[in-house]
């Protein structure tokens, strides 16, 4: 355990002193705060019209014109943070020649990979906490509204989900850094997966869904629903979809179903915001799925790393 700590603190210090972390952090802070600033301006105008609950959360979810919302920004940009922190975790140790030096010290081999992963997660967590605090501060000063307890808790859940989501990409980066000996290859492979899950999964899902349940102009409502449902399920393979659904439901208390809603389902529905517990129930499957993806990806890296031969060259 103590050796794990040594690796953890060393990697943690490395991340924080590295240039790439600094660049990422600056980009995220600037983008995040400018997005929220503009969002807060728009929210500020809306408040006067009709005061709805949970205004503070809108800081994170409203998109302002051409600018995307903060949650979208994280779902889109978060993977890049994880990949950039993880893509050279193991193979850079090989290419620097430090791998055998470190592993010849009295440590278990898994201390190295665990330490690196945890240090990456901690870095991500600190990055996100600071940007969320910046946004909240900005919101406090421009809107003049104090978040209530429920809002703080919801932001907390969103934070945890974001860390896990980026943690998945971190572990994917680490996995590729184990599989590929060259850092360039692992970076490209990680980015390819990211592009697939973020951009192409929608097309793939549509194609498969249309093949299985063709929607023609004579299609019944049942078939259209089935098609939509299928598409949604396929898209949920992508951690980005899972994360977006979590973010939407947890930051927008009125959301109770995802995707297609039939009129019959809304009949008699009172458009009240859900309680926190109810929102958690809505996102629970997605949350578990996201955790599972991260854990599985890390477990695969762990197993491969433990079995990998260590050759100096």
């Amino acid at each position: 355990m103590s050796r794990l700590k040594v690796v953890f603190w060393k990697e943690f210090a490395d991340y924080f002193s590295s240039r790439r972390f600094l660049i990422l952090f600056i980009i995220i802070c600037i983008t995040g705060s400018s997005i929220t600033y503009i969002a807060s301006q728009i929210i500020g105008q809306d408040i006067t019209k009709a005061s709805v609950g949970f205004i503070f959360l809108k800081l994170f979810t409203s998109s302002a014109g051409a600018l995307p919302s903060f949650t979208f920004f994280i779902s889109f940009f978060g993977p890049l943070i994880g990949i950039i922190l993880g893509f050279d975790a193991i193979n850079s140790e090989h290419s620097r020649g430090t791998m055998s030096l470190v592993l010849s010290q009295p440590i278990f081999r898994d201390s190295l990979i665990n330490g690196k992963f945890l240090a990456g997660l901690a870095t991500v967590a600190i990055m996100l906490i600071s940007i969320i605090l910046v946004i909240s501060g900005l919101g406090l000063s421009t809107l003049g509204i104090v978040p209530n307890l429920a809002e703080i808790l919801r932001i907390g859940i969103f934070f945890v989900a974001s860390v896990i989501y980026i943690g998945f990409w971190l572990s994917l980066g680490i996995l590729f850094s184990i599989l590929f000996r060259r850092t360039a290859s692992s970076a490209l492979a990680s980015i390819a997966v990211w592009i697939f899950f973020t951009f192409f999964i929608y097309m793939v899902a549509s194609v498969i869904a249309d093949q299985l349940v063709p929607v023609t102009h004579t299609a019944t409502a049942e078939m259209i629903t089935k098609n939509e449902y299928l598409k949604k399920m396929i898209m949920r393979i992508s951690p980005a979809t899972l994360f977006e659904e979590i973010a939407v439901a947890v930051l927008n208390p009125s959301v109770r179903v995802f995707g297609f809603v039939l009129p019959a389902q809304v009949k008699g529905l009172i458009p009240n915001p859900l309680s926190l517990g109810q929102s958690i129930m809505v996102i629970w499957p997605q949350f578990v799925g996201l955790i599972a993806l991260m854990v599985i990806c890390f477990a695969i890296s762990y197993v491969i790393f433990m079995r990998q031969e260590i050759r100096a060259t």
Binding site: S17, R96, T98, L101, S104, P106
Partner: protein, 310 residues
């Protein structure tokens, strides 16, 4: 006498190709053991197995009585290892790099910091302790590598090609340092190298390995004798004149394997030193030996010879 390292039919195959095959050798306490062989002979693989970083396909290796595969941690606690082409974290300073090593060894900073200064002084890096390793030359990195091995106070040190790619003066410094620290602190050393000449003078015993086999083991003298015993002697003979029957008579001497003639020079291969008999034969054939000399095998030749055989 205590054996620090004992291997028992140690073998390792990568995808069916044997890198190390039934290797048996022992290392004594506080000796410098030279582990010699050409590139790709299986030296590094063997070393990785000694450290428990690679699992043997079959066979066993014991270090201080601990099975290296099962009790790797116990082995690594007492063993310092300098990998071939050692690398360091380039954006950390020399001191920070060593401190990371001592921390990984669970040595508290209070104890390790004076030791780090001391060892950096000893390897001649006291002026660059706070310089980032990225700015170091190859020789400096190698010396820092030596520091990393000995900063943890090992009982046993494995140095894989410590002199590769270093200029002659640097090699000399490194070898002197190895001898000094080994004698002063009674540290057993396994020194792997493909440059026999460089390391043989500081080794108490050597083991020569080619293609995964240990083909000779012992002190340099023993190995030299062994090879001379086994090998044929080459005699270069000059005679005053070549009489018709001379060549046939020499060929008939027991032990002569081959004879080559050019003018009045002969090159005779025989399985032992037959100078007496041959000169007698020459005289009996009515000629006179003007010059007979044996062609000795130099160490280099022994080495090359061995490598070819394996």
């Amino acid at each position: 006498m205590e054996w620090i390292v004992e291997t028992d039919k140690l073998s390792k195959a990568y995808n069916g190709i044997k890198a190390v095959d039934q290797l048996n050798f022992k290392i004594k306490e506080s000796e410098i053991f030279g582990f010699l062989g050409p590139n790709g002979a299986g030296k590094t693989t063997t070393i990785l197995m000694i450290l428990g970083l690679t699992e043997p396909t079959s066979g066993k290796v014991k270090v201080y009585g601990h099975d290296a595969t099962r009790e790797a941690l116990k082995v690594k606690r007492v063993t310092g290892y300098l990998p071939e082409n050692v690398g360091f974290y380039e954006d950390l300073t020399a001191k920070e790099n060593l401190r990371y090593i001592t921390r990984l060894n669970g040595i508290p900073d209070k104890k390790s910091l004076p030791k780090i200064d001391e060892i950096l002084e000893e390897v001649g890096l006291s002026e660059v302790t706070d310089t980032e390793v990225g700015k170091f030359s190859k020789g400096m990195k190698q010396r820092l590598g030596m520091g990393a091995v000995f900063v943890k106070n090992p009982k046993f040190a494995i140095l894989d090609e410590p002199t590769a790619g270093i200029d002659p003066e640097g090699v000399d410094q490194i070898l002197k340092f190895i001898v000094k620290i080994s004698r002063e602190q009674n540290i057993t050393i396994l020194l792997s190298s493909h440059l026999l000449y460089q390391v043989q003078k500081i080794c108490d015993r050597v083991g020569i390995i080619t293609k995964g086999h240990m083909i000779a083991q012992g002190s340099m003298d023993e190995i030299g004798k062994e090879i001379i015993k086994k090998e044929e002697t080459l005699l270069e003979i000059q005679v005053s004149k070549v009489t018709p029957n001379l060549i046939n008579s020499i060929k008939e001497i027991e032990g002569v394997k081959n004879i080559e003639k050019s003018d009045n020079h002969f090159l005779v291969k025989c399985d032992r030193d037959l100078r007496e008999k041959i000169s007698k034969t020459i005289v009996e054939n009515g000629s006179l030996p003007l010059q007979i000399k044996t062609q000795d095998y130099t160490l280099e030749e022994i080495y090359i010879k061995y490598f070819r055989e394996g």
